[in-house]
Symmetry: C2
Subunit: 182 residues, 2 copies
Amino acid sequence: MAAIVATAWELSRAQGVGALTLHALAREVGMRQPSLYVYFESKNALYDAMFADGNRQLLERLTKLDLPDDPRAALKAFMGTFVSFGIEDQDRYTLLFQRPIPGFEPSAASYEHARAVLDHAIALLHTAGLESQDDVDCFIAMVAGLIDAQIANDPAGDRWIRHLDRLTDLYLDEAKRRTRRR
Amino acid sequence: MAAIVATAWELSRAQGVGALTLHALAREVGMRQPSLYVYFESKNALYDAMFADGNRQLLERLTKLDLPDDPRAALKAFMGTFVSFGIEDQDRYTLLFQRPIPGFEPSAASYEHARAVLDHAIALLHTAGLESQDDVDCFIAMVAGLIDAQIANDPAGDRWIRHLDRLTDLYLDEAKRRTRRR
DNA sequence: GTCTATACATCGATAGAC
DNA sequence: GTCTATCGATGTATAGAC
């Protein structure tokens, strides 16, 4: 079961999440296509398992981090890890953070890990000085913009994501200035 | 031919670009599916025509703008129009600026309008003070991040894109400070 | 240019034997 | 749990009559 999901990730990496078929997956794990229905009641159930698995991987990596005390440094370390996770497997990133499969919506259970990741990020943003919903929205959109541009235009490089720390400072400094002004 | 492309856009708006089928398109224009091959030699040729058409729409709207003299105001007007264009038809935005169709790559000819739009944006960014490749990259990624977040999470609202002008000032001000420091 | 008819392929899903 | 066999739906593309 875990092996099937792992193989599904392999195939997705090779040809894209949307191009994954049960026939190909079954062949790759040495089974026939109908046998997969013993483990997943539908193709979307497979996607849901992949979604949960990917978020679990991400959460594991993020919680394993030994974050520095300084809030700004902690935020950079956290976000740097997040970005690396996204870049190292584009199709996993796509499945977790975009909606590449028409008709597939993650189940509530699979969403729990994703929720935990987001909550962790928001908490770090708060202690680093981005407290309003607006500031959090803008910062997260900025990070996502960097990752998306990187994946779309320069998958193997760092042309966009290398600016993460500088832009993080930019957003935090501006918020700090705004706070002081009051 | 233009009518077919227009109808293709309608259908894409209703059900997503990826869900567009030649049968449905033919039915909608009052023909049978094989008749479409008189106008497009393949489905990807249809996508290519849509891609060119969408970029032509965008370029037309942007060149029609009466931009203010102030570089910063001009940039905001330009980007505001770009963002509005993206938000008002999400599936058009997807086809133009993401790769939602596996196996479809725009032809070189269809890319010309897209290139013109990008060049125009870069020129405006230069006169507004963002001159380096790095600054242009970051700014465009930021705008795309706002649009993507908006479309994905709040298609009918303005939770993200309403920060466009403020963030534009943020990026321009920071570049200005950097320039002065030298 | 538009039609009918159909080839051809892919894919998800189910039935039922072992 | 895994198999064979097959259904049923969908979708692109082509052949050839009109």
